[in-house]
């Protein structure tokens, strides 16, 4: 009988200790989650900042302009070929060749 009482006391003590351990573990987990959240927020802020600072203005329109300007200038180039009206420029020469090939 006395032996059974002793066993009961031991199990109650171990239960209390287990509960204490669980509580402290939960508290630690809660703090870690908070810390993780802070790190995540800071990381997001840094990523947004990096994205803004690294994104360059688009130069596509200006590069397109360079191609367009080359084509316009090239078509105005005066060639060595001439007809009855005088020297032909590149655009006229292309049209002339097209007419000849028909």
């Amino acid at each position: 009988m006395k032996k059974n009482e002793n066993v009961d006391v031991v199990t109650k003590k171990s239960q209390k200790e287990w509960f204490k351990n669980l509580l402290s573990k939960l508290r630690a987990q809660e703090e870690m989650v908070g810390f993780g959240l802070i790190i995540a927020i800071v990381a997001i802020i840094l990523l947004v900042f990096l994205w803004f600072s690294l994104s360059k203005p688009v130069k596509d329109n200006l590069e397109n302009y360079e191609v367009q300007s080359f084509i316009k200038a090239f078509l105005q180039y005066t060639t060595g070929c001439e007809n009855a009206y005088g020297k032909l420029d590149m655009a006229e020469l292309i049209l002339f060749c097209e007419d000849e090939n028909r």
Binding site: F49, L62, K72, F74
Partner: protein, 172 residues
């Protein structure tokens, strides 16, 4: 014991708040430092952008464009005779007008590297309109460099391929 635990908690919160404030202050300082170190590059980028925008419009501006001197109105056509007259006037009447360090027109086909003067024109390849000794970076656009050429007691329109180059000063 309970009172001590409460104090401990308050202390912990206070330390955490101080640490967070310090952390955010450091992050802010890092960002500010990065931004300010980038200012000079930003100024150069701005100048580059201005030069690019200018070069796209310059060829069609009244000071450079052919107008209707070569038949119909043409895009990206520069009147070489007009530019040679402008070259003489530019230092007195157009100082700082375009706000760039250097403007030149370089013939690319047929290629020629000799500088144009009143004597060598039109047998030359580079018309220096605004020349600056400082080193800058160029932005350019293709243009047709046209002039009236004499042939057998007559004149015809001669257009060659050239690059209109605008230079801006590097701030770095």
């Amino acid at each position: 014991m309970v009172k001590n635990l409460g104090q401990m908690k308050i202390q912990q919160t206070a330390f955490m708040l101080i640490a967070l404030t310090l952390f955010f202050a450091l992050v802010g300082l890092f960002i500010a430092g990065f931004k300010f170190s980038d200012l000079k590059r930003g100024a150069s980028d701005l100048e580059e952008n201005n030069a690019m925008l200018l070069v796209t419009k310059l060829a069609n501006s009244p000071e450079f464009s052919c107008g209707e001197a070569f038949g119909s109105k043409r895009d990206n056509c520069v009147d070489a005779d007009k530019v040679m007259i402008l070259k003489d006037e530019i230092s007195s009447k157009y100082r700082g007008f375009w706000g760039v360090a250097d403007i030149k027109i370089r013939k690319i086909y047929p290629a020629d590297n000799s500088a144009c003067t009143a004597i060598s024109y039109p047998e030359c390849g580079v018309i220096n309109l605004i020349s600056n000794s400082t080193i800058g970076t160029y932005d350019s656009t293709f243009v047709a460099l046209c002039r009236k050429e004499a042939q057998n007691n007559d004149y015809y329109d001669k257009c060659e391929l050239a690059r209109l180059m605008v230079s801006y000063q590097n701030k770095q």
